[in-house]
């Protein structure tokens, strides 16, 4: 009798565990519309590619069970207010097990409030601003290198090339770019570089002529700043149309997109601090290689991946590994596994701070600096800094 | 005895037009003072200057010995000087009773809602509108609206009432009725200062008359004195209709 019961028990356990793959719901919003649509879509493709590859391989195997990934996602219209409503909905009505962040620092900071209020894990990507992590969270984990690092590469390169060059900082007045520019200004001073003009412009600015006139008047030789795709591409275009004599332009985020080439001549020479470029060859301890990622991505979307795409994919990869290590989707155990994470994937090293005053802040990842350069085949994005990782020499001055 | 209303040297200019020029007069206790003059003589402007709707360029208005020149109309009402409008201004969306309650609430006694309602009903009885008290003010006939204007002003419990052409547009029966109301008002101890075009009515109602022409005071006196004044007759020759009536009165 006892033996019979035991057999049934064992069999049923096996049946349940091996026979049915369970579903894990991952929720996030995408800016299908609005000012952030270009960058957000690239991030979404990273998520999507990861999900398809995981599910094709039979799901995440943890604790003897298989978990298929399903997404629940909505269009946040690039609007912070919608983000809060939708993340509440995903937690409360759609019962999402884990959350990924929306695109951009400001949307992510807003979403984080909701996920923390309901005690859900959220991996953030496409969001470099670091202040959110100092507000006392327990379940946030950041994939991007924080904002303070963004312009260090450019400033180091400038110091090496032309230490006397004058700098203009022109940036979007939004969480992310503020988090980048303020520390960059301090770093420039530390390097002895001369910042001659600083101005923030309102989000959604389309007419830069007044600011451009001021940049010309300041006689700056280098312009650093921007924000996201919509404003950054417009700024680059208008700088070119006004023939501003700049020797170096570094803009945040926008030039990383494949769409940058649509700007034609305005695009040439512009640099972008990047979380990841296909040329950066990291030896992956976990998951696929950088080359395989780029190949799979290009095959699926007919466009090369940007660092937003890589961040999106890596986000899934890190969550996947944590679920495997935790032996299942239990929030507390997965959070513990994420806290213990220190891993190099195709995207580079990932390690989260566990200090109480900055929990979840990314402290393992490093950035590169890329520049759009003209060669025989047209416009190509080359890694130019740090020198150890370069795929081409920095072109300075641009013209 | 001190006059109730004392206007002196009052002057108002609109752009290049001298609307009222150096006009002075008084209204005594329990007196009916009539104000006549051809169209455009500045009669309504004079009313507006007296109750503070517009501010004079020069001159003073004293009411009960107190200088009220340029006081806003709402303060002037609190002191006991109420008025009606030539073009009636009922509060359209409110009932007849509510219209009069507004008058009582914000008048000289500044009543609370409940006593104001009582006063309003009494006043409506006086002008024979009590049966219409629940109707929308906009649904009244022109005669009804004129009486509503008077009722609202009366509800303020004024010492002096300015009536701006309350007879205009009424038929003879209605005129007769309104004249009765005005007499009743004076008999209850309220002074009246009224603009009127219906000559017979104003001649018989007024104790004294002031004649205004092109913004200037042409004459002042009892109806009989005014009617004999050659200047007045001359001024009214432009308006033969009235001139004839004045002569008839002689």
């Amino acid at each position: 009798m006892k033996r019979l019961v035991l057999t049934i028990f064992v069999l049923s356990t096996l049946f349940v565990t091996a026979g049915f793959a369970q579903n894990l719901t991952v929720g996030f919003t995408v800016s299908k519309t609005g000012a952030l649509n270009v960058d957000s879509l690239e991030q979404y493709r990273g998520f999507e590619l990861w999900r398809d590859q995981v599910n094709a391989a039979g799901g995440i195997k943890a604790g003897g069970k298989n978990y298929k990934i399903q997404f629940v996602s909505y269009d946040d219209e690039s609007n912070t207010k919608r983000v809060q409503q939708l993340y509440s909905r995903m937690v409360l009505q759609d019962n999402a097990d884990f959350l990924f962040s929306p695109y951009s620092s400001s949307l992510t900071a807003t979403a984080a409030i909701v996920t923390e209020q309901y005690g859900k894990i959220m991996l953030t990507t496409g969001a470099a601003e670091g202040k959110t992590y100092t507000l006392g969270n327990h379940y946030l984990f950041q994939m991007f290198t924080p904002g303070a690092e963004y312009l260090k590469g450019t400033l180091d390169a400038l110091k090496a090339k032309d230490p006397k060059a004058t700098i203009a900082l022109v940036y979007e007045d939004a969480s992310f770019s503020v988090a980048v520019v303020n520390p960059a200004k301090a770093y420039a001073q530390q390097l002895g570089l001369n910042v001659v003009f600083t101005e923030a412009y309102a989000p959604n600015t389309t007419d830069f002529s007044a600011i451009i006139d001021k940049v010309i008047a300041s006689k700056a030789a280098v312009l650093l700043g921007g924000g996201h795709y919509a404003d950054g591409s417009t700024l680059a275009k208008q700088l070119y149309e006004h023939k501003v004599p700049l020797k170096m332009i570094t803009l945040l985020v926008a030039p990383d997109s494949d769409k940058w080439t649509e700007l034609g001549d305005s695009a040439v020479g512009v640099m972008v601090p990047s979380q990841w470029e296909p040329q950066t060859a990291f030896k992956a301890q976990y998951g696929l290689s950088g080359a395989d990622f780029a190949k799979a991505y290009t095959a699926k979307y007919n466009a090369p991946p940007s660092y937003e795409s890589a961040g999106g994919y890596a986000c899934g990869l890190v969550l996947q590994r944590a679920i495997e290590q935790a032996g299942g989707p239990d929030t507390a155990k997965v959070a513990a596994a994420l806290n213990a994470t220190d891993i190099t994937t195709f995207y580079g090293r990932t390690k989260f701070s566990t200090a109480a005053n900055e929990h979840g802040l990314q402290i393992g990842h490093a950035m590169v600096l890329a520049q759009w350069q003209k060669d025989k085949s047209g416009l190509v994005k080359q890694v130019v800094w740090p020198l150890a990782a370069k795929s081409a020499n920095l072109v300075y001055p641009i013209h | 005895m001190m006059p109730l209303l004392e206007v002196s040297g009052i002057t108002k200019r609109f752009g290049g037009l001298l609307a009222v020029s150096d006009v002075g007069f008084t209204v005594g206790e329990r007196e009916i003072l009539g104000l006549i003059g051809p169209n455009g003589a500045g009669k309504t402007t004079l009313f507006n200057l007296v109750n503070g709707v517009i501010k004079p360029d020069k001159g003073t208005v004293k009411f009960c010995g107190q200088d009220i020149t340029s006081h806003p109309p709402n303060e002037v009402v609190h002191l006991g000087l109420a008025r009606t409008h030539q073009i009636v201004k009922p509060l359209h969306g409110m009932s007849v009773l509510e219209n009069v309650i507004v008058g009582a609430c914000f008048g000289r006694d500044y009543l609370h809602l409940r006593p104001a309602r009582k006063v309003a009903m009494e006043v409506l009885e006086r002008v024979n509108l009590a049966d219409h008290s629940d109707k929308a003010a906009s649904s009244l006939t022109i005669a009804g609206k004129k009486r509503l204007e008077v009722a609202r002003a009366l509800a303020a419990n004024p010492k002096l009432l300015l009536l701006d052409e309350v007879l205009a547009g009424l038929n003879p029966t209605e005129i007769e009725y309104m004249i009765g109301i005005v007499r009743g008002i004076r008999d209850s101890g309220i002074s009246v200062f009224m603009i009127e075009h219906v000559m017979q009515a104003i001649m018989s109602l007024s104790d004294r008359l002031v004649v205004l022409s092109f913004g200037q005071k042409l004459a002042e006196g009892t109806p009989l004195e005014v009617a004999r004044d050659p200047q007045v007759i001359e001024a009214y020759l432009g308006d033969p209709d009235i001139a004839t009536k004045l002569k008839e009165k002689n």
Partner: protein, 321 residues
């Protein structure tokens, strides 16, 4: 007087139902829906004091909600004040601001006033977006552990919900009280004919400034509570012109000038909007439908739902007015 008015009991019953519904079965998701309904009712009711009672169209009413949110969040989150105290001070501060502002711009009548309110909305938004202590364009964020004071985030969300429901009930009771008062009578006189009102003795300047200021108070308190609950505020969500305009739609839909109409319009519009926004087929058309609804109301039923009810069942006016 007010204790004998049937509408008072309708208000109290409404508030009781709003409290009971999500509490029964601990339905957090329903609570999140209802708090938006309550906010809509608060905005529409207080806007009604200007548009419905006094006849002045305020296109920038949302400025009070946003400023209240900023002051409340700043005091509660950055300065560590008690939430209720911070919300009340936000209300008082914004009311004073409105009083001063009102004495200036209420000299304007009709469309000119309406335009000035738009100007004020944009000017205030621009000021806040450049104001360093309030975080410029990036706004202010509440520390995640700030909610510990209210017994943790889960508990804090319930506390703010009950407070918002209380503000909602107060908004409606305030509307009713003003409607039944001499002050309200003076406002109606201004609405019908401002020139006549002043000659009848209504101190229109003071009355208008006071009602402008009063209509700012509870929206500011609600803003403080709501943005604290949301954990953040920035100029684009605090001073959303669209929300200001939607308040007018709500009011017209329900019936301006009536206590129940304002609440009804606010509640219905918010339910409709949240349904349209989350329905995958209709989400793109929510503006089209809301706009069409408004057009129909303006063209064919200027009295709104309540006006229609009064026409259909004349006795209802006796009970509800």
């Amino acid at each position: 007087m007010i204790l004998r008015h049937p509408v008072l009991y309708i208000i109290l019953a409404f508030a009781a139902i709003m409290v009971w519904l999500p509490l029964h079965g601990n339905n957090v998701s329903l609570r999140e829906d209802l708090i938006l309904v309550a906010i809509a009712v608060i905005l529409a009711s207080n806007l009604n004091l200007m548009i419905g009672y006094t006849g002045y169209v305020n296109f920038g009413h949302i400025v009070f909600y946003g400023l209240g949110g900023y002051i409340g969040l700043y005091l509660a989150a950055e300065k560590g004040w008690n939430l209720v105290l911070a919300a009340l001070l936000a209300g008082v501060g914004v009311s004073l601001f409105a009083l001063v502002l009102g004495l200036g711009i209420l000299r304007l009548r009709g469309a000119y006033f309406a335009l000035a309110t738009i100007g004020i909305l944009v000017a205030v938004q621009s000021f806040v977006a450049n104001f360093d202590p309030w975080g410029r364009s990036t706004g202010l964020y509440v520390s995640f552990d700030a909610y510990e004071k209210l017994g943790g985030a889960r508990h804090a969300l319930w506390v703010t919900y009950f407070l918002v429901i209380a503000v909602m009930a107060l908004s409606m009771i305030l509307s009713l009280g003003i409607k039944m008062s001499k002050f309200g009578l003076g406002l109606f006189a201004i609405r019908e004919d401002e020139g006549a009102a002043v000659v009848l003795g209504v101190n229109t300047t003071v009355y208008k400034a006071i009602i402008y200021s009063v209509s700012a108070f509870l929206p500011a308190v609600a803003g403080a509570l709501m943005f604290y609950k949301n954990g953040m505020i920035d100029p684009s969500i605090a001073f959303e012109f669209m929300l200001s305009l939607e308040g007018i739609v709500m009011l017209m839909l329900g019936g301006k000038g009536t206590v129940i109409g304002a609440a009804l319009g606010g509640g219905l519009y918010e339910k409709l909007r949240s349904y349209l926004l989350t329905s995958p087929k209709l989400s793109n058309f929510h503006l089209v439908i809301a706009g069409g609804l408004l057009l129909v109301v303006v063209l064919f039923a200027p009295g709104g739902l309540i006006g229609w009810l009064y026409k259909a069942v004349p006795r209802s006016r006796k009970v509800l007015e």
